[in-house]
């Protein structure tokens, strides 16, 4: 048994082109995410190497902690709006948080 009482939430991780940072974060906002964390990244995937050597080829990595249903809404939105045309990967996993009302 836990000594601190944690609650379950979901962490949604998105890796995508940094050129859409503003648009993506505005979407997360609009769909109800209470917060997010962004780091600069580089990588490789089906759309080739994105080595962040210049702006066009830079990635960002976005994390959102939220409830499962919001995470699935966000994921569905990403799939519909971005998957076809942008380098993007997203995945979910469960996390334990304190202050669950925050997410």
């Amino acid at each position: 048994m836990s000594s601190v009482s944690t609650d379950k939430r979901v962490m949604l991780t998105i890796v995508t082109e940094s050129v859409i940072e503003n648009a993506l974060l505005a979407d997360l906002d609009r769909l109800g995410a209470r917060g997010y964390t962004v780091t600069d990244a580089r990588g490789r995937g089906s759309r080739g190497v994105r080595d962040a050597n210049w702006d066009e080829a830079a990635n960002i990595r976005v994390e959102v902690i939220c409830g499962r249903s919001l995470a699935e809404t966000l994921l569905a939105h990403l799939q519909e709006r971005y998957y076809a045309n942008y380098a993007m990967v997203a995945c979910l996993h469960e996390v334990e948080v304190l202050r669950p009302e925050k997410f």
């Binding site: 082109e17 050129v19 859409i20 648009a23 962040a52 050597n53 210049w54 702006d55 066009e56 971005y82 076809a84 045309n85 942008y86």
Partner: protein
């Protein structure tokens, strides 16, 4: 002889093609481009302070039309081969302008002590945006989906436009005396900064080699012919406006140049179905090197013939 700044471009290009480990810190590249944009603006503003502005308004209209004509022409050619989105996005790149190419042109003229009008940097600033708008319209029509307000804001308050016009405003209000204390940084270092900037451009251009090979000859041909035709339009426009040979050369260079910063970023958002690799391969892999290696001297040769200066 080749200008020394162009030698730096060639060094970057060779290093990139040889897959050297050479990399520039991205923040250095950003810092240099900031200095170059401000310096171009300051210089232009300093010149403008010595003449009335009102007579320039018709010139602004003319160069906007020049950019629009280029965009439509490019679209018509590209549409024969590419999907609508790709043709429109690439056409917008070619209708718009490139600061780096402009800076190399300025450097080329300076090295030969050829004067040009101080309003040329304003042309650079105002020629950037209209082809973007037209490109989006060509790709999508006037659909509900486009957030014109956001696009407009991003275009008009983008980094390049703000630094250029801001630099001009500062140069205009400070005048030569006011600018003197900051000249060691913005003017004396200009060419050194441009040299390092072009070193990085060489590395960036080298990365386009693979994509270019995949796209084949059509794109290479377009990347060479489009700037030549654009330069011809630019020369016509410049002569019609009564610019000096240096000014005509620089307007031709602007026309021939193709954007690889503002346009790709905006198009990626507004026309996501267009393949950005295609436009960049043409612009960076062919047109940019063509312009700075062969184009500028050629445009000057033409300009001198038609505008009547000594070549």
């Amino acid at each position: 002889m080749i200008d020394v700044v162009v030698l730096f471009f060639l060094l970057g290009l060779l290093a990139g093609l040889a897959r050297s480990e050479l990399k520039l810190p991205p923040q250095l590249y950003d810092s240099l481009s900031l200095v170059l944009l401000l310096a171009i603006g300051l210089k232009g503003g300093e010149g403008l302070a010595q003449q009335p502005l009102l007579p320039l308004l018709p010139q602004f209209g003319a160069v906007i039309l020049l950019g629009i004509a280029q965009t439509l022409l490019a679209y018509a050619v590209l549409r024969r081969r590419f999907a609508r989105a790709d043709a429109a996005a690439t056409a917008a790149h070619y209708g718009s302008v490139s600061v780096a190419t402009f800076a190399v042109g300025v450097n080329w003229l300076n090295a030969r002590a050829i004067d040009f009008e101080p309003q040329l940097p304003i042309f650079l600033a105002i020629m950037e945006v209209p082809p973007i708008v037209l490109g989006i319209l060509l790709a999508r029509g006037i659909r509900a989906g486009t957030n014109w307000r956001r696009l407009g804001h991003e275009a008009f308050f983008g980094k390049g436009v703000v630094l250029l016009l801001g630099g001009m405003a500062i140069g205009w209000s400070a005048g030569p005396v006011g600018l003197a204390p900051i000249k060691p940084l913005f003017f004396d270092l200009f060419k050194g900064a441009l040299a390092i900037f072009l070193l990085e451009m060489g590395l960036i251009v080298a990365r386009q080699a693979v994509e270019l090979r995949r796209q084949g000859l059509f794109l290479v041909g377009f990347g060479v012919l489009m700037p030549v035709v654009s330069a011809a339009l630019g020369i016509g426009c410049g002569v019609a406006l009564g610019l000096s040979p240096g000014g005509v050369t620089l307007l031709a260079t602007l026309a021939a140049s193709a954007s690889y910063i503002a346009v790709p970023a905006t198009m990626r958002l507004a026309v996501p179905e267009a393949n950005p690799a295609l436009s960049l391969a043409a612009v960076l892999g062919v047109t940019f090197p063509f312009n700075i290696l062969a184009g500028i001297p050629f445009y000057h040769w033409l300009a001198a013939r038609f505008a009547g200066g000594a070549p």
